[in-house]
């Protein structure tokens, strides 16, 4: 997959996708929150099968037996540019890509709000 450049185009794509997939359910949009989680706690969540289990699909440096379904979680900041962008992706990846396989960890309340913030902080640090 070609590297995405942060651009108005990318944002417009998200908007288009959002409109098409607009559900009446209000939680589709990520609520306002302070992204001030704890990265170490986030690492635990990322490796925990019963929580984020990010390692199941993503290579994470330091993680054991990673899956290879999603892209490796490295060079996150140059790829996502803002912590908020990372948060939105973890909240609901189908906004950016309607065919994304990644579960909507925020929207579907797979993680608690604190766990969500922690994992975002962790991913942002990768």
């Amino acid at each position: 997959m070609p590297t995405r450049r942060c651009s108005a185009g990318a944002r417009a794509v998200s908007a288009a996708a959002l409109l098409t997939l607009a559900t009446p359910f209000a939680r589709a949009d990520m609520p306002q929150m302070e992204l001030n989680g704890n990265a170490e706690a986030g690492r635990e969540i990322a490796m925990d099968r019963s929580k984020g289990n990010c390692i199941a699909c993503h290579l994470i440096v330091g993680g054991e037996s990673p899956g290879a379904i999603g892209p490796a979680l490295i060079a996150i900041q140059p790829r996502f540019h803002t912590k908020e962008a990372v948060a939105k992706q973890v909240w609901d990846a189908t906004v950016r890509n309607p065919e994304a396989v990644m579960p909507p960890f925020g929207k579907h309340e797979i993680l608690t709000e604190q766990e969500f913030k922690d994992v975002v902080e962790f991913v942002w640090s990768l």
């Binding site: 997939l21 559900t23 009446p24 359910f25 939680r27 065919e99 929207k107 579907h108 309340e109």
Partner: protein, 194 residues
């Protein structure tokens, strides 16, 4: 007029003036009556509050009886003592009464917390059924509702409310998901490449 007669007159005059001014150390009948009146009022209040006032009432009577004998200071002392005892008893009773009211309020709060939790559980069950009706029920929803029910039974209303709210969200999300997926079909990546 002799000096003696003048001195005696002056002395009397001085005493007539000085004595009343400097006689505050000596209780007056009015002071005693005032003290007894205040003690009586406190006594009545205490009695009205359901306090046993026999002893203090007796003390007030005793003070009263001292008036004809002009033992005003002693009368005031006794009246004051009775008043103090009655007021203390009243303050004790007030705290207890407050405690009772507080306990009542707590019970009312708890009752309303319980109602809140039960309503949340009902809402969650409705949401679960709605999701189930379109084949979109999630795995854990029913168990969450069951756990919320158990929490109500053990008085853990906060926990019950939290679980029920989560379960309700699951029902809502499951329903929305099933509706959005109603036309699910071959995705773009499986289409033959042109």
């Amino acid at each position: 007029m002799t000096i003696r007669r003048f001195a005696a007159g002056a002395l009397t005059a001085v005493m007539l003036v000085a004595l009343p001014i400097t006689a505050s150390w000596a209780a007056h009948r009015t002071d005693a009556e005032a003290a007894i009146a205040t003690a009586k009022a406190a006594n009545e209040k205490a009695a009205a509050a359901g306090i046993d006032t026999k002893e203090t009432a007796a003390m007030i009577e005793q003070a009263q009886a001292l008036l004809p004998a002009r033992q005003y200071t002693k009368a005031i002392d006794i009246a004051n003592q009775a008043q103090k005892e009655d007021e203390f008893a009243m303050s004790q009773a007030a705290t207890a009464a407050e405690g009772q009211v507080a306990a009542e309020l707590d019970r009312e709060d708890a009752a309303s917390e319980k109602v809140k939790a039960e309503e949340a559980i009902a809402a969650a069950e409705w949401a679960r059924k709605k999701a189930a009706s379109v084949g979109g029920e999630w795995r854990d929803t029913a168990k969450m509702i069951k756990d919320a029910d158990t929490a109500v039974k053990t008085g853990e209303f906060d926990k019950a409310l939290e679980l029920a709210t989560k379960a309700k969200h699951q029902g809502e999300l499951g329903y929305a998901q099933a509706m959005a997926e109603a036309d699910a079909d071959f995705p773009s990546y499986m289409h033959p490449k042109q």
